[in-house]
């Protein structure tokens, strides 16, 4: 049985005026269903880009992303969008909730995009919001919620259609330590309960340490393990030389 996600030799480069910037230089890795990994690396190393490429948002310059052996970027736009809708959930550093909609409506949005009826989408949203502990905040708009609550709504939105892969881009990066800790625990708990595979990008070494599998992005390559203890400094800089890719 093929792994849930397999990235093969991902290259990604941007043009900044005349200069070509290589962000990914043949990054490869694979993820089994239900597996939870942390991804660390200094700022600007391309963690978000890596996540976007894995999450089918940004086609790589070269290389393949296979979902259960199927090349994601070979799908037509519409199929890819439907795949993203049902199989991948995103959580970003900023909650990116739609400000005019309530928590319930925001969480119901993926269901509505999947053309569920309003009732069905809102029922699913209510269940997930209860799961993240926001049963009492359903009709509040994002502006009326605290930072932690906003991020919980974002998490609920990512999970409402029970995806098989959750991609979290510094979900706690914008929160104070205690709140961030709460979100993190929730992530771990949901992974355990729902069996959703997750890649969590984080700057927080303590949170990264608690993950069963740790990855590090360096020089455009994915490196297994975060290195020896203490090598990831609190500022997020990596002191060890880049190791070979997996």
């Amino acid at each position: 049985m093929p792994p849930l996600v397999e990235a093969r030799g991902l290259h990604k480069s941007y043009w900044l005026g005349e200069k070509e910037i290589h962000v990914l230089r043949g990054a490869s890795f694979s993820l089994e269903p239900g597996e939870m990994v942390s991804l660390v690396g200094p700022s600007g190393v391309g963690k978000s880009t890596f996540l976007h490429v894995i999450g089918t948002l940004d086609p790589p310059t070269a290389g393949q992303v296979l979902f259960e052996g199927r090349d994601a970027y070979a799908m037509p736009e519409e199929e890819l969008a439907a795949f993203r809708n049902r199989s991948i959930g995103f959580v970003f550093q900023f909650h990116y909730l739609l400000p005019e909609f309530t928590a319930l409506q925001n969480t119901a949005m993926p269901g509505l995009i999947n053309r569920y009826s309003r009732e069905k989408a809102e029922e699913a949203a209510r269940q997930v919001l209860e799961m993240v502990g926001l049963a009492h905040r359903l009709d509040h708009k994002p502006g009326e919620l605290s930072g932690g609550e906003q991020q919980r709504v974002a998490l609920a939105r990512a999970l409402v259609l029970k995806p098989r892969l959750l991609l979290a881009d510094e979900p706690t990066g914008n929160l104070d330590e205690a709140t961030g800790e709460g979100i993190h625990q929730l992530l771990v708990e949901l992974n355990r309960r729902l069996g959703i595979a997750a890649i969590v990008v984080t700057h927080n070494p303590r949170l990264a340490e608690r993950m069963p599998r740790r990855l590090r992005l360096s020089e455009g390559l994915v490196i297994e393990g975060s290195g020896e203890e203490g090598e990831v400094t609190s500022s997020g800089a990596i002191s060890s030389p880049p190791g070979p890719g997996t």
């Binding site: 976007h52 948002l57 809708n85 049902r86 949005m109 995009i113 053309r115 309003r118």
Partner: protein, 669 residues
């Protein structure tokens, strides 16, 4: 994107079929129906345009996208085929100096066909793409509509504000019209409902102003930081709505006024003229007495009356003028025209019984006093009435009252009466150049007539040109025996005059009879009016077009503002077509709200103009009030044009938005 051969072939076949269909339809309609040439062109080209739209829509599903290249190549080939086909068919030229269209004209037609096919096809294809032509069709608009609504801030509060702003200004205009009509008792009748609506509008306006003052006061009490900021796009949205509303307003009001002029003209022409003339390809129509009952028996014919029409010279004292002399039968003239109701002094019947024309002073009829207002007319009345009492002409000609009574009667128009200073009872001379041959050469024939009545039709041309005498007198005067020129006809349905006329002719066995309907008789007048209206419509549509550029820029601003949101939606799996739907819906909403407001304003303005009765200089326009004719069909056409243009305005920003990459909005932070 690869070139899809199947889509191209289907497009080519369908476009060819649409073009051929247009040619066949036009030939069929012109042979089998009695439609006017304008209606023929409108139906056949309108049908062709609709077909091009639908073909574009259909082909977009085969091309899995706009299919610009497939449709483009097909349209190019269509243009070439059209040129070849038109060259074989030799269509009539649109220019006046040649019969068949020249090669340049054919090239132009072919190019227009090709370009029209492509543009309309792309327009149709945009709807196809919107509904998921690129993949599986998806006609649902659920969450897209919800998001569009939040972009436009269309919550209950703004909806109420919009309704208030859309209803109150037209309501006030309407109320002003009602007030004017109550005060001056002019124009349209005002029903109790109208008064209630007007009162409601005034109350609503007062409430709105009170609410606004209250809101301003509440705002003034807030600290600077407490005020809610309004994003620029909301202001731009409001401006776009106002722009469309103003354009639609102008378009509806101007078109309604022009329709009013047209209707007024039609009313006046049909007041003096019948709906059609039954004529003969011969000078001998002496069998008319047997034809008349046959014509009257044709269903749809409501009135028949014989007539003779000839040009004469009229003189009274020292003044001479040219005139159209019409011999009529006063007994039946009322069934084909409004002549008996146009009399402002005297009586139309007196042309047949001139002995009834009194020798004493005839005062103008009471209802005519309004038409004879103004110092100029007072002077003229005094002149003619006073002189009538002294009878200077008759004394000079030594006519005794008995001989006077024996003279035949004539009815003249108000302007002519003014011009030659003749009033009821005056003797005027009618002169025809068709005179006797004498040893010294041809001598014109002249006869005295007594004025039996003064007519006022409202058309300067008619009031200054037409004079009416009894038919037997005309026959005698022109030495025609029992001959007439033709029969005047009136039908149930004025607008079907042409078809009704053909029915009458076929009932009489066709040749040598023929009819000429009112539209044919006044063709130059009505085509000038129609051209003017068309030109106005095109010019004013540009206002709406410019307003749609507002929509365009507003949507571009919105797309820029919502880039992040678009990315989030795409990361959640929203399709490209869905993103496009959001922005198309927004533009259409702006266009529809603006159109609705403009239509209401236009309707209220028309009602105001009608009730208030804006004064015009009657000496220039020969019409006392600005005429207005608010036609429902015209309003619908304006609404359709406006919404169609707003849809076009959404296509560029919506397509841009749908093609944004999901990471465009995520990257910046």
């Amino acid at each position: 994107m690869k070139f899809r051969k199947r889509a191209f072939l289907v497009a080519l076949v369908l476009l060819g079929a649409a073009f051929a269909g247009q040619l066949v339809l036009r030939a069929f309609l012109s042979n089998r129906t009695l439609l006017s040439p304008d209606a023929l062109l409108a139906i056949s080209f309108g049908g062709e345009a609709l077909a091009f739209l639908l073909i574009g829509f259909f082909v977009s599903f085969l091309a899995r996208g706009f299919g610009a290249r497939e449709m483009g190549l097909a349209a190019l080939l269509l243009a070439i085929a059209a040129f070849i086909a038109l060259r074989q068919l030799k269509p009539p030229s649109f220019s006046y100096d040649r019969f068949f269209a020249s090669t340049e004209e054919l090239v132009l037609w072919a190019a227009l066909t090709g370009a029209g096919a492509w543009l309309l096809g792309m327009w149709g294809a945009s709807a196809g793409v919107l509904l998921g032509a690129a993949g599986t069709p998806d006609l649902r608009f659920g969450y897209e509509a919800g998001i569009a609504r939040t972009h436009l801030r269309l919550n209950r509060r703004t909806a109420l504000t919009l309704i208030a702003l859309g209803l109150v200004p037209p309501g006030l205009l309407f109320a002003a019209g009602v007030l004017a009509s109550l005060r001056y008792r002019r124009g349209a009748e005002t029903s109790a409902l109208g008064v209630i609506v007007a009162a409601g509008a005034v109350v609503a306006a007062l409430l709105l102003v009170a609410r606004w003052v209250q809101a301003r006061a509440a705002l003034a009490r807030l600290q600077p930081g407490q005020r809610r900021k309004r994003p620029a796009t909301v202001v731009m949205t409001a401006i776009s709505i106002a722009g469309v509303a103003v354009g639609v307003w102008a378009l509806t009001v101007v078109l309604s006024v022009m329709s009013g002029f047209e209707a007024d003209l039609k009313h006046k022409i049909l007041g003096t003229n019948s709906h059609a003339y039954l004529l003969k390809f011969s000078n001998d129509f002496s069998e008319w007495k047997s034809v008349l009952p046959k014509v009257a028996a044709v269903p749809g014919v409501t009135g028949v009356s014989p007539f003779i029409l000839n040009e004469v010279i009229l003189s009274h004292g020292q003044t001479v003028t040219g005139a159209e002399l019409k011999g009529i039968d006063p007994a039946t003239a009322g069934t084909v025209s409004e002549l008996p109701r146009q009399v402002i002094a005297g009586d139309l019947k007196w042309v047949a019984s001139p002995q009834d024309i009194p020798t004493s002073v005839v005062e103008p009829r009471s209802e005519a006093s309004k038409q004879l207002e103004g110092p100029e007319y007072q002077q003229y009345l005094e002149d003619t009435l006073k002189r009538r009492q002294q009878h200077p002409e008759e004394e000079k000609n030594k006519l005794d009252p008995q001989a006077l009574k024996a003279l035949p009667g004539v009815c003249i128009g108000k302007e002519m009466s003014h011009q030659i200073r003749a009033w009821v009872g005056d003797v005027i001379s009618v002169l025809t150049p068709l005179g006797e041959m004498t040893p010294t050469g041809p001598v014109p024939r002249s006869r005295p007539f007594r004025v039996a009545c003064i007519l006022y039709s409202g058309m300067y041309e008619y009031d200054s040109k037409f004079v009416y005498i009894h038919l037997p007198e005309a026959q005698k005067f022109f030495r025609m025996g029992d001959n007439i020129m033709g029969l005047e006809l009136k039908f149930n349905d004025v607008d079907a005059a042409r078809a009704e006329g053909r029915r009458v002719v076929s009932a009489l066995g066709g040749f040598p009879y023929r009819t000429k309907d009112w539209a044919e008789l006044n063709r130059n007048l009505f085509s000038a009016l129609k051209l003017e209206k068309l030109a106005m419509a095109i010019i004013l549509t540009f206002i709406v077009l410019v307003a749609c550029f507002n929509i365009l820029s507003t949507l571009i601003m919105l797309v820029l503002e919502k880039t992040k949101e678009i990315s989030i939606l795409k990361s959640m799996g929203a399709r490209d077509a869905s993103v496009m739907k959001i922005f198309v819906l927004e533009g259409l909403t702006i266009g529809a709200i603006g159109t609705a407001m403009g239509l209401l304003l236009g309707f209220a303005s028309c009602s105001f103009i009608e009730r208030y009765g804006l004064q015009l200089d009657p000496d220039v326009y020969y019409i006392s009030n600005l005429p207005v004719n608010a036609d429902v069909g015209q309003f619908c056409a304006v609404a359709l044009i406006s919404v169609a243009l707003s849809y076009l305005a959404t296509l560029y920003p919506a397509t841009k938005a749908s093609r944004l990459s999901p990471v465009d909005g995520l990257r910046e932070d």
